[in-house]
Symmetry: C2
Subunit: 337 residues, 2 copies
């Protein structure tokens, strides 16, 4: 029995070990991912993002409970991109466990950055594969904050929920405009707040302004591989989906059943319109982009003597060589060799 | 006269045009950077980061005024990584201009992400070169927030100031621990707040816990090229610098003169210990890393038919091909060709 076999058999301890291996980039990661990958593609990947203080974590818990009541298994990945080195995810698994503990149909995991942001996005994508292969039907990806990092991670989802709260951040409309572009469903949580109707109205107005996710933004985000294949694939996201706004109160579950129904509707829309296939293709293009960059750099480093490389870096640092020219030189040296 | 010549001659309009060209990745960017690069390396690059609400922007303004009083020219780059698509930097140049307007020894520029975070870090690094080549002696790089994005950008600096404020975020020690690792100087702003001494005490305790920037974190951050050349360069940052904590009140300038003196001391330490050369080398290795990835991927895309690439992506999306295996296949195809 390999670790991958145990994960596929639904062994929780094996999944936990596999996730640690993935998160830390340990030996054997590529092998286990290769074994798991063919068994992925069944889960509905739901990204949940929004600023701190919106009650996002409580909402994720409520969604998990609602899906469990339908008898569906739920994986939760809580991603914290604000903790760059220390590794301690601030969304403690322990706190989350209070409502969901003892339920073998739920699996919760927190992830924090170790090193680079690119590393976190990659680790999250790979962790999703492990959850998916282990058979979880719904996977909720929760991110802290609302910056570029969160956008990068939310893009691994099929459906993106952006959570807002009344009266929060009315002065940072510029940020909202950015985050709205990735929303498939908007949630105004804390709907018992008297300012909630105004927040809904403001969001509706912003949506009507047409800040929909543009094909160009998708390409920018998903990188050069997607851009290269765009002319030969049917890559244009059409806008057959109108972003709905749902009021919720996560503390008592108000609106959560409606939100679950909306998620179902969006999933059906994705499948029937062909948009799911397009999104998955864009995600895979993005992943291939990043893997190719890594593999190509490794190959170059293997072919260039480390003292020669050190000399190039020293010459750049001494301003005797321009970085772009140095890169071109190293790359063309490869071709000649 | 080329645009680069005008920038080098200190023409403000030319610098502004060059920065637009750099930020938007327009045609001619590489050429102008190649002309500017040999004239860089003279400025002191100072990163200023910290959570919103710490009074960071006011402190940057005060620092700029203090350096101007010494007769030194100052460039300010305000980077906003929280605005992923919309392009509008929330730190308006106009607001900043109130104290510093009409002074030809100061140049202020805001930058927001367009597309990817990697793109912003690159554009920031290139904008720094333009400021440096244009002759600004002090360049302040201000970032919003305290996540990985800010860390990435602060790493382009020689000296990193992390700004805290009393009573802010006492519950998110995990975040602070991460950001402390990149600090050369800690500032507790709003020193007139009665909680300021406690904040200083807490920060001192955390510093004593030894969360100093580790060589491994540097390598993780600066990528594979640095890791590859590490054995042949003297790459270990020694810890001959004790991170000082300075109290300031940016609204009235209290403590700013002391902070400027500290920055001078740190600059001297960097030069005399050889740490400046090491940091510049690490920065250049990082930049080369990223440029090599781009150039190598471009070369691969030029050699692979777009429909062949589309077919690979489709096979990955259909789970018939594992992403890692696909990347290896494409890269080894290059070798055989």
């Amino acid at each position: 029995m390999t670790l991958a076999t145990d994960v596929l058999a639904g062994n929780r301890r094996a999944l936990s070990r596999a996730l640690t291996l993935i998160e830390n980039g340990l030996d054997g990661r590529d092998e286990i991912l290769a074994e798991l990958y063919p068994r992925t593609g069944r889960a509905h990947l739901i990204g949940v993002t929004g600023a701190p203080g919106t009650g996002k974590s409580s909402l994720v818990n409520q969604l998990a409970l609602a899906f469990r009541q339908q008898g569906r298994t739920v994986g939760i990945i809580a991603v914290d991109p604000t903790s760059p080195f220390s590794g301690g995810a601030i969304l403690g698994d322990r706190i989350r466990m209070r409502d969901l503990s003892g339920d073998s149909g739920v699996f919760i995991r927190s992830m924090a950055t170790r090193g680079s942001l690119g590393g976190l996005a990659r680790a999250t994508a790979d962790a999703l594969k492990a959850f998916d292969a282990a058979g979880f039907e719904i996977i909720l990806i929760e991110t802290v904050g609302a910056g570029q990092a969160e956008v990068d991670i939310a893009r691994h989802a099929h459906t993106v929920i952006v959570v807002e709260a009344p009266g929060l951040g009315d002065d940072v409309q510029a940020i909202k405009a950015g985050i709205l572009e990735i929303a498939d469903i908007l949630v105004v949580n804390k709907s018992d707040d008297p300012r909630a109707p105004n927040t809904v109205k403001a969001l509706r107005a912003m949506l009507d302004l047409g800040s929909q996710r543009s094909a160009q933004a998708m390409v920018n985000h998903h990188g050069r591989v997607l851009e290269a294949i765009q002319p030969v694939i049917d890559g244009n996201s059409q806008s057959g989906w109108n972003v709905p706004i749902q009021l919720t109160t996560a503390t008592d579950g108000t609106g959560v059943a409606e939100l679950v129904a909306m998620l179902e509707t969006h999933r059906s829309y994705l499948v029937e319109s062909g948009e799911l296939a397009r999104r998955v293709q864009a995600q895979m293009a993005y992943e291939l982009d990043s893997l190719l960059r890594d593999a190509l750099l490794e190959r170059l480093l293997a072919s260039v003597d480390s003292s020669a490389m050190a000399s190039v870096v020293e010459q750049i640092a001494a301003r005797r060589l321009v970085p772009h020219a140095a890169a071109r030189m190293l790359v063309s040296g490869l071709t000649e060799a």
